[in-house]
């Protein structure tokens, strides 16, 4: 049996996961989320918060898993992409643990991890993946050794669009209540404002900054907020689903997944499901509990990478704030610890 401890600290969540390659696979899932009372996330404040919770989060994970550090075979850490100060906390903790206990250190790309945890939990082997989060909007699929980017946002990310709009019009923070985004709550009972918000798909790329500007202008001009929320969501979600559809047709793959912080969204899931069935593809989103950032996804990916021989010397474990998904070799593909 191989057991890996994974550390996530790329954005708002300090996560520690412990995973093994035998039932029940997931042994521990500890998360400490930084939630600003007002405004957005400040990297330095996040880093200070992470530093204050890191030690007890690791201890709690070991307790939850019922294993000692001696029984852990490797330590995995998300080295990027993400915010520098936040990444540095996770990397420092991981390097310290690995060095102190003499464990191999496994570098993990955060974006790859979002997809690997989806594959691991859904059982999909070779899907087209839509990865949507606060800082990412990317359509990827595996071709010749790596995840390749088929389409992405040319400016801001989908999660960023929702968060920024919600904050600007005063319906957030909190950004998420009862598992739904402020924009979703607000869109209840809204109508579609046809032609008021630009629908932008360029080839296989999307763009959201024009949507944000148009939506804010509509609100300023006195449009009903629920109509604007409804329309913004409809236009933005439709465009990412359309790009995913193009990727599906272009690659001829038979499976589709949705992952990342926005993946729990009901309407987006509905659209993805309808699109997939149109092309007779199997659709399985990552389970909602693992859509947002967590340590388990880092541990799962670390486990696969470790067994494929991917490790890094602690002194060479640099953080990479802009580490692209298509720069990462994925030699273990398509197998997962479940087979």
């Amino acid at each position: 049996m191989t057991t890996v401890l994974g550390i996530e600290s790329t954005a708002h969540t300090f996560g520690v996961g412990i995973v093994s390659d035998e039932e029940p696979f997931i042994l521990a899932d500890v998360r400490r989320k930084y939630e600003p009372k007002t405004g957005g996330i400040l990297p330095r404040e996040v880093a200070a918060f992470f530093s204050s919770v890191a030690g007890e989060a690791v201890r709690e994970a070991l307790r939850e898993a019922g294993v000692s550090m001696e029984e852990v075979d490797a330590v995995a850490v998300a080295l990027g992409p993400g915010m520098g100060p936040a990444l540095r906390v996770g990397a420092t903790v991981a390097r310290a643990i690995a060095a102190h206990y003499g464990k191999p250190l496994v570098p993990v790309n955060h974006a790859v991890a979002h997809i690997e945890v989806a594959r691991f939990l859904t059982g999909l082997r070779d899907p087209v993946a839509l990865y949507v989060a606060g800082g990412n909007t990317t359509v990827v699929s595996f071709v010749e050794g790596r995840y390749r980017v088929f389409g992405e946002t040319l400016d801001i990310a989908l999660g960023n669009l929702l968060d920024t709009f919600a904050r600007e019009v005063g319906i957030a923070p909190p950004y998420v209540r009862g598992g739904r985004h402020a924009v979703d709550w607000c869109a209840e009972g809204g109508d579609f404002l046809d032609g008021e918000i630009p629908y932008v798909v360029k080839g296989q790329d999307v763009s959201f900054s024009g949507i944000l500007t148009a939506a804010l202008r509509l609100v300023k001009r006195g449009a009903r907020l629920s109509d604007v929320c409804y329309t913004l969501r409809e236009v933005a979600f439709s465009s990412v689903v359309e790009v995913t559809e193009r990727c599906l047709v272009h690659t001829g793959k038979r499976e589709v997944t949705l992952t990342g912080g926005v993946a729990a969204n009901e309407l987006l899931n509905y659209k993805m499901r309808v699109m997939s069935s149109l092309h007779e593809a199997r659709y399985e989103p990552v389970p909602a509990r693992y859509s947002g950032d967590n340590g388990v996804m880092i541990a799962v990916t670390g486990l696969m990478a470790y067994k494929a021989g991917v490790t890094v010397e602690p002194r060479r474990a640099f953080i990479r704030q802009r580490w692209r998904i298509d720069q990462v070799d994925v030699p273990w593909y398509p197998s997962t610890p479940k087979g």
Binding site: G84, V201, K202, G203, S238, E242, R246, H250, L278, R322
Partner: protein, 233 residues
């Protein structure tokens, strides 16, 4: 006999044999005024609000027809346009027969693959010189017909002379070959540029360097800000 009532027409067309189900539309094979013809039917996306889906379908049909007419006039190898019915989202075009460039590249020897990519570059150059950008010139949208490579699917094309949008075309071709023919991608893109330069002359360089910028513009591109790489501790 097909009806000209939009709803009836689409229903009638749905009985024709399906040639291809694209991301955008269904391509059905039939005949029109005695000629073998393809009927491109823009399916209203069932995952969109009906008004958004209808608007996109008719807008895109109308725009596609205008662009194809202009491309043909400029001597671009595009399918001949036979009829346009925007409210039904239907275009009727010449049936272009042959394998897709994507399929050909997969089986071709390096020399042949490079020749094809160069020909694609010439076509893209002619299109751009005519003031049109394609918007989705992937290797799935070139057909190798008896009369040479034909660039199809003008569904996302626009009239534009912007360096940015021209560069997006080059970028999309490059990304398509990187995605499906990764090991040959570099040579294929170089060959495309060779054909493109031949047509576009001095104007080509601005577009090519912008395409490089676009490649680096995606989120988290390390080349763009190498200086921020930092060692931990």
């Amino acid at each position: 006999m097909v009806s000209l009532d939009p709803e009836r027409l689409v229903e009638d067309l749905s009985r024709l044999p399906l040639l291809k189900r694209g991301a955008e539309s269904e391509i059905r094979l039939g005949s029109f005024l005695g000629l073998p013809a393809v009927f491109k039917v823009r399916v209203r996306k069932p995952y969109m609000h009906p008004r958004l889906a209808a608007r996109l379908a008719s807008q895109r049909t109308r725009r596609e027809a205008k662009v194809i007419a202009a491309a043909l006039e400029a001597g671009v190898n595009a399918p001949l346009l036979l009829a346009v019915l925007p409210s039904a989202g239907v275009l009727v075009m010449e049936y272009v027969e042959g394998p897709l460039l994507k399929e050909l590249l997969a089986g071709a020897a390096r020399g042949e693959a490079v020749k094809l990519a160069r020909e694609a570059g010439v076509i893209l150059g002619r299109l751009h010189a005519a003031g049109i950008v394609h918007g989705d010139p992937t290797t799935s949208n070139f057909i190798a017909s008896p009369r040479g490579l034909v660039l199809i699917d003008y569904g996302l094309a626009e009239f534009s002379e912007h360096v940015e949008e021209r560069a997006v075309d080059l970028h999309l071709f490059r990304r398509a070959v990187e995605a499906t023919h990764a090991s040959l991608a570099g040579s294929l893109y170089e060959a495309l540029l060779e054909g493109y330069r031949e047509v576009m002359g001095g104007e080509a360089e601005k577009v090519i360097s912008r395409a490089e910028e676009i490649k680096l513009r995606g989120r988290y591109v390390e080349e763009r800000r190498r200086s921020v790489w930092q060692a931990v501790g």
